[in-house]
Amino acid sequence: MEKFDKSFPSKPLSWPRGRQWALAGVVGSGNLEVLFERNAKAPDKMDCHVESSIPGHKDSWLAALNDFAANYPVGGTKVTIHDQGADPIVVTFRLRQALDHVLKKSS
């Protein structure tokens, strides 16, 4: 297992009223789940906790998460990831999907 915590600077995300979390993906082979939670304490940071079944790819994780935090306004968000061997493009896709779920009006 690879487990780590890391914060990335990001522009503040304005969470729609009433929405506190959003989930994308499932923990399955080549897949991952991403949970977005509101974290009002650090509006200019994306706080990440990653658990992956595949060790040895921390650099790829950091690059993917850093890109995401730079490309989208996701400050004030706590991101928790449970991964079972997803490749970086799937990781980016799930992050984007979770962000979409946050921003979408109805559940």
Binding site: M1, Q20, W21, L23, V26, V27, G28, S29, N31, E33, L35, E37, E51, S52, S53, T80, H82, D83, Q84, S106, S107
Partner: protein
Amino acid sequence: MTSAPLFHEQTARQRISSLADADTFTEFLPPPERVMSPYLPQLDIPVSFDDGLVIGRAKIGGKPVYLAAQVGQFVGGSVGEVHGAKLTGLIQAAARDGIPCVFIVESGGVRLHEGSSGEIAISEAMRAVFECRAKRVPTIAVIGSDIGAFGGMGILTTCCDFRIITEHGRLGISGPIVIEKWMGKEAYDSSNRALVWKTSGGKTKFLLGDADLLAEDDAPSVAAAITKLLSKSNPLTLRSLKARQLELEKRMKDFGKTGDPDAIWTALGIKDVAEASLATAPEFIALAKKK
């Protein structure tokens, strides 16, 4: 053909949101609560926020239900201690409140990594199902994916009042690979998909009467089937058990030595097996009626 997404391709959460009336689903123990397996991390296996089971309250066709959906991709939809405790709690709530309980089953059974805790969890869930049945609270299992309902979940599914199955669903105790390992490839070839589906698949289970309704592979058809059953119950009495036993004995007598599943379809009234194999659910039901 409908334009709705295929039910067997949807995830547990997508199935719930496409079955429940809009904005009626309230999840119990949602992901931020992090009620997760304490055992999987010890084995270096990733955990999931919902432990592979999404539970909650919803309305289907305007009627309140307790709803559970298993996540087949997560450790085979298997029932671990937390997964089983969530399931049991939901069924007990259904019995207490007199609200029907609907299970979207997608599981190979007990989570072997969790040993006895998983076994006990599934037994507790079964006991809760019988609590519902004693109180005439409907319990409905939906099997709509090829992971299907096997092992302990196969048993739990058959403990329910009713079963809804789609062509993609499978129902059994030992899965095809397990049977092949024990009996040999000559007895049962698990790579023969036609054979596997003709023995444990939705159409066969519907023909045999092991499933009560056969639905098309989309959420609107499944929801319509659920709605039909919500106000019914299937009382469990000594008489109904004895009748079922006789039915199973007759099945053993009629088909126990049959090696060809097509012969079973024919004996059960399907004239053109090739046509029936390709038929949609409503077409198949019509063909099965023309005995």
